[in-house]
Symmetry: C2
């Protein structure tokens, strides 16, 4: 077993190889994104819950990890990181030898740029539209309020416009950045999982058969199935 | 002159070295971000205007470049890209040998991750707050409407919270990702330039002396001065 590439890298000594720590829990979409990457490369990790009810996210200890008082934060030895997509890039670069899917495509100038572009689409177009629907449908109602149906309708319309571009894109390739899965696809998993549990999700996805087939291909990945399960009943 | 590193790379033949094309004009902040990177590495480029009044951004030609019908789009030989930060990464990787500032820090696992994190802060926290202020103050009024002062106040409050984190961060280092400038800093230039022309900007910046000094260090860079000048009177 000790000549396995993954273990060889883990024993190189250049980088800390004790389990990394993820601060925050799996139901948070930005935490789930990080867990997905850790599962994809088979890294060891430890989840450290942050108690929001006790306002632990605004404690000096947590603010030293994430100055914005958000989750996730991430620790690898002396290195402390935040921002989920930056953490994902770090994990995939560190474990490049065990990243069978080559999820960043670094080393190929053009292919890595296409992954970057579609990862930015997820972060800047898909995520904000999804976040707005999620906040209205789940957070506002959990706090006893009435969801703002106008905000939901506008966000679902934005989402539909984005998925319309995805549908065209997926006509000639299996994944957003090409014929193979990349971080750009995986980054969509956490919010898509929640979307499909909300009444707005299945009708919108049903309009886009190639997007639906793409989602099913993602769900067939063991790492995706595991993290979707860790996200649980969607409490966060 | 022909043994200069930049030219040597340009003649390598592995990558197209005819001038790249940037579709969109400098007053657009997302276009200016790309121009900054091109200027920093001394790349040759051609700007191709997109006529929004003639709805050229929604033409089939432009949608083939950017499926969301936005600017910028970017062409390097057969490669077409969109999303400004992805284009910036591409430019900096391609011209790594002429990037004296090493603006992505790739090759150093920890340092590149810190650049990624603060670039995501710019994209996901700074830019949305600035964009909201800019739309109300400049776009709504240009269209003859009344700016929504509540939106402006909320966005300025968000901006102030973000700059408060920057001010603490800049206590022990000259730039957001460390002692040297990176793409994370430069990515703030286009909107900061507009902010400081609006009535909300100088009072907010005035509360943060280290942020103000950081901005002055950025403005001292020839590439920054050139692109700030290209952005002109702020028409877009």
């Amino acid at each position: 077993m000790n000549d396995q590439p993954g273990r060889a890298q883990k024993q190189s000594g250049l980088i800390s190889m004790s389990p990394v720590k993820v601060f925050g829990s799996a139901p948070f979409t930005n935490v789930a994104r990080v867990l997905l990457c850790l599962e994809e490369v088979g890294a060891e990790y430890e989840i450290v819950d942050v108690d929001f009810h006790a306002r632990e996210h605004k404690s000096p200890d947590h603010l030293a990890r994430n100055p914005f008082g958000q989750v996730p934060a991430f620790q690898d030895g002396d290195l402390m990181l935040f921002e989920s997509r930056a953490i994902c890039r770090y994990i995939l670069r560190k474990h490049r030898s065990t990243d069978g899917a080559n999820l960043l495509r670094e080393g190929n100038l053009a292919e890595s740029a296409v992954v970057d572009a579609w990862l930015d689409v997820e972060a800047l177009q898909y995520d904000p539209a999804m976040h707005a629907v999620f906040v209205q449908h789940r957070v506002v109602t959990a706090l006893g309020g009435e969801p703002d149906e106008r905000v939901i309708a506008e966000s679902v319309a934005r989402l539909r416009e984005t998925l319309d571009v995805y549908e065209a894109r997926l006509t000639t390739r299996g994944y957003l950045a090409g014929d193979e899965v990349s971080l750009a696809d995986l980054s969509h998993v956490p919010y898509t999982r929640y979307l499909l549990e909300m009444p707005y999700g299945p009708p919108v996805f049903g309009e886009f058969p190639r997007v639906t087939a793409w989602w099913e291909r993602l769900l067939a990945r063991p790492a995706v199935r595991k993290v979707v399960s860790m996200m649980g009943g969607g409490s966060g």
